[in-house]
Symmetry: C2
Subunit: 311 residues, 2 copies
Amino acid sequence: MVLDPPLAHPLIGRLTVIGVGLIGSSILRAARARGLAGTLVAFDGSEAVRARAEALDIADLVAATPAQAVADADIVILCVPVGAMGAVAQAIAPHVKAGAIISDVGSVKGAVVSALRAHLPANVHIVPGHPVAGTEYSGPDAGFATLFKNRWSILTPPEGTDPAAVATLSGLWTAMGANVETMTPEHHDLVLAITSHVPHLIAYNIVGTAADLEAVTQSEVIKYSAGGFRDFTRIAASDPTMWRDVFLNNREAVIEVLGRFTEDLIALQRAIRWAEGDKLFELFTRTRAIRRSIIEIGQETAAPDFGRSHD
Amino acid sequence: MVLDPPLAHPLIGRLTVIGVGLIGSSILRAARARGLAGTLVAFDGSEAVRARAEALDIADLVAATPAQAVADADIVILCVPVGAMGAVAQAIAPHVKAGAIISDVGSVKGAVVSALRAHLPANVHIVPGHPVAGTEYSGPDAGFATLFKNRWSILTPPEGTDPAAVATLSGLWTAMGANVETMTPEHHDLVLAITSHVPHLIAYNIVGTAADLEAVTQSEVIKYSAGGFRDFTRIAASDPTMWRDVFLNNREAVIEVLGRFTEDLIALQRAIRWAEGDKLFELFTRTRAIRRSIIEIGQETAAPDFGRSHD
Ligand SMILES: NC(=O)c1ccc[n+]([C@@H]2O[C@H](COP(=O)([O-])OP(=O)(O)OC[C@H]3O[C@@H](n4cnc5c(N)ncnc54)[C@H](OP(=O)(O)O)[C@@H]3O)[C@@H](O)[C@H]2O)c1
Ligand SMILES: NC(=O)c1ccc[n+]([C@@H]2O[C@H](COP(=O)([O-])OP(=O)(O)OC[C@H]3O[C@@H](n4cnc5c(N)ncnc54)[C@H](OP(=O)(O)O)[C@@H]3O)[C@@H](O)[C@H]2O)c1
């Protein structure tokens, strides 16, 4: 299964991506592969990334400034860390075209909606988004055109947003292979706290705990990591800036879900201490069914060990 | 990279595997592929598994009873859940050959050493072991010959064990592609608590917490699982009997490591509450280095997303 062939006519005139990292460069690659925009424009705050974007020939134009980047753009998608969204919105605000759609891909939505609204003019359509797709790598070389294929992209348009603008953005994501769902920013932030943010925090934490144990050397932790630990290190290798920003900007939902997690974990610890085998067995059986469902709806591979090579 | 070609002469005469699941059937397959034993014998407590072992032609003889299975065996490897080791040792004890090597693959070593010693006669060599390799699947169909390739197999011979017996078993694992290390059962149980047991417990726990949240539906958890959650469900889909037995038999080390994990997690939660971005950033940077080391020593793939298919 690959992306569908290019469209006969582009969906939109000029598409600008700001922040050419894993997500931004994947959007550019998918849009190019499917011919979704008349002109593809890229901009990044880092000169090195702009040079790399040029070298990769990832857009029709790699702009030199935010102003040049958004001039005349029909859709602008901000693909920078959540904490940088406000500054980027401020930088582009004087230059965006009236009627343009301004979107983003930030992993937190409530805080980003506030940041965009605070800076952008009233004559643009703000349609925040979040593709639930990624890898542990970042930067312009990490992206690929099929990243969004069969993944969900969540849009969180504020009440009163023009339905036509939502439909256009939704069409863009669909054309990149994604399924689209809309919900409120608040609900998004709670759902993602459990399906993404707290899992990342736990992964970072167990890797940190392992590194700090005195009785077990770090080289032992590394050597015997195939017992399960290494799965966690993938997630705990994700970009530190991105994830710091996620936790700082989704504090309430993360702390709420974390409270539940800890409560459950302490109950489990107690069951181990008192040798309550049936309680353990019951939980361990229940959790299997959830993975089965994830595989059934095509959000996970059924291949053993994620399909890791065993040769 | 595949297994090396078969040996010209088998390393041992008669090799018996008791418990033809993921690990047992992988040993049989690897031993067959490399010609490691003159005769391969299999036994399982389940009639269905014995029939399946016959159908798969996984051994030269699928024994009908424990007595028949171990008669004349030079090496016997117990590949049953940790909680069943004692019963199996008891069942084979009257029938093992003097001088035979009795080993196992249990994920906990202290408790298994005690169980084996309690039942086996003094005229056999007890050399407990644990291959740090596996997948989330179980049963005779789940095994494969390359499972142990480039993984570590830990032996925990009690003090005073005949070095020749340890060397023979070590040679067997090496011939199946594994690297061999020896340590005390106590140290093994602590190392594995951090590299395997607690990670599994945390994975089971987060999946349970997610399933129980009222504000987020289970279908949302499943739909948006590609944000990180699905990684945890792989581990949380492992065999409930096996894992119940692991936690019941490695209580002390698991509870000790869990205490450290929770302490660290609460400190992290506090850093989020007080918006201490630098603390988060520092941890998230430190953890990356550990994954890099795991990849460097060949215990993990460098492919993004474990090499999951993105097409
Ligand atoms: N990674 C994922 O799995 C994933 C999944 C879904 C959504 N997201 C979201 O997508 C966004 C981007 O993540 P990513 O993984 O693509 O990150 P990334 O690979 O690190 O790329 C981000 C890019 O934005 C640039 N940038 C930072 N601040 C900027 C600014 N003020 N103006 C212009 N460019 C700036 C960065 O340049 P420098 O290198 O100079 O910092 C970098 O090139 C984040 O909001 C994240 O929450 C990520
Ligand atoms: N899975 C892993 O990743 C992994 C990794 C390293 C070590 N280990 C260890 O390896 C051992 C086996 O695990 P596995 O994953 O191979 O399990 P598995 O696939 O479930 O296989 C275990 C087999 O043992 C049989 N069995 C249970 N009790 C028995 C008894 N009293 N007598 C004879 N056969 C009996 C089971 O039959 P029934 O189906 O009738 O119960 C089953 O066929 C465990 O001690 C585990 O801790 C596992």
